[in-house]
Amino acid sequence: MSEANWKVEVTGACIASGMCVGTAPAYFELDGDRNRSVPRSARPAPDPLLLSVADSCPLEAIRVHDAGGTLLAPLD
């Protein structure tokens, strides 16, 4: 893992729409028991796809920060 890696989290607002899992299966998977999405890695290498997915989540449940902790997406 590089120092520059981003931070990805899925908050409790997730309703398991499957949107992120269908769009970016390399980054998210559904936890069937808890009926919500979980990131496959909390510190992935930077990838603009993560920003698009965070912007698309209907509940704004996906938060993407850069290594320094600045929120990259979703932004208003």
């Binding site: 607002a13 729409s17 949107m19 698009s52 997915v53 698309s56 704004e60 208003d76």
Partner: protein, 399 residues
Amino acid sequence: MTDNAPGYPFGDGTGLALEPEYGRLRAEEPVSRVQLPFGGRAWLVTHHADVRKVLTDPRFSSRATTANPDGPRFTPQPLFPAGVMSMDPPEHTRIRSLVSRAFTGGRVEALRPRIAEIAGGLADAMLEKGPPADLVSMFALPLPVTVICELLGVPYADRDRFRELSDALLSTTALPPEEIFAAVMALNEYLAGLIEERRAEPRDDMLSDLVRARDEDDRLSEQELVEFGVGLLVTGHETAATQIGNFIYMLARNPEQLAALRADPALVPQAVEELLRHTPLGAVSGIPRVAVEDVELSGVTIRAGDSVIPSINSANHDESVFEDAHRLDIHRPSNPHIAFGHGVHFCLGAQLARAELQIALETLLIRLPGLKLATDGDADLAWKKGLLIRGFSELPVTW
């Protein structure tokens, strides 16, 4: 492959009871061959887990469905490529990330007071007129129509025109193909005109935002913009309007559930989820997908190029996920229904539709506490005909 594939859809699109064939298939043949009205055969998928798989697995494509216009379909006219629904990632991801911001949970929360105001005004008009009244034309339809028109910035005066055109667009057999095509063209033209107005004179509405996403960032093409607007108008009208009528009917036919809801209106949000699960809105569900590679599903090999119908309605009645699945139970503790779809095409308007449905039920329960159907049996009820959606064209109620 069985030779005698049954015809699909199973019913004629009337009635809100899911056809018994689905239950039989879930038990005996969860991935089975069916014959579509036009263009050949498809695989019908009926288990909750398999339906979710089809809807999230990139090996099942929406784009490939419209790329083959003469393929298996429900409509006589060939499929025409239109809108987000017929795109795959990454094209789809680009559009969704541009338009989703207007529909997030937070934005919708901010709209609630205005939705409640519109609903209250419609209830006032019903009370003023006095019983009996047609719930569809006086409440169920004008509520989402007003909301989506205000959101997009469509003048209220044009709403009747929209309803006509949107009905035509969702029709399968009610209208000849030329008329459906003409309606699509007319809607496109209308939207293009509205977009020109917003470009010249931006306002505080979604259409202006979308025009900006095109003009400043140049990320949304003119055609994408028009198609997206048309898609929103159509889906924003028909779905929520139909479900409001359907929900009132379902509650009237389940008086003990209705009584529980009246006794405790705090149950409305979970009642809406259960009604969404239980009420099959589509005569079928969603557009078919096409496998782009061979895929194994519940022991059946789906070949590349085969059409697949993921039955959302059947998934929502899967006994292995929902105890007593056929029962409407607003107290259901866990409800992982997929009435808004699943995966990349998960309903863009889900949070808006939830807010509209919750506010509609609350308003009707509180303002018209004696609300009931004006007919006893189902014989007199007027069902939408030839449309892909199940519901009432009129629903006489009294209070």
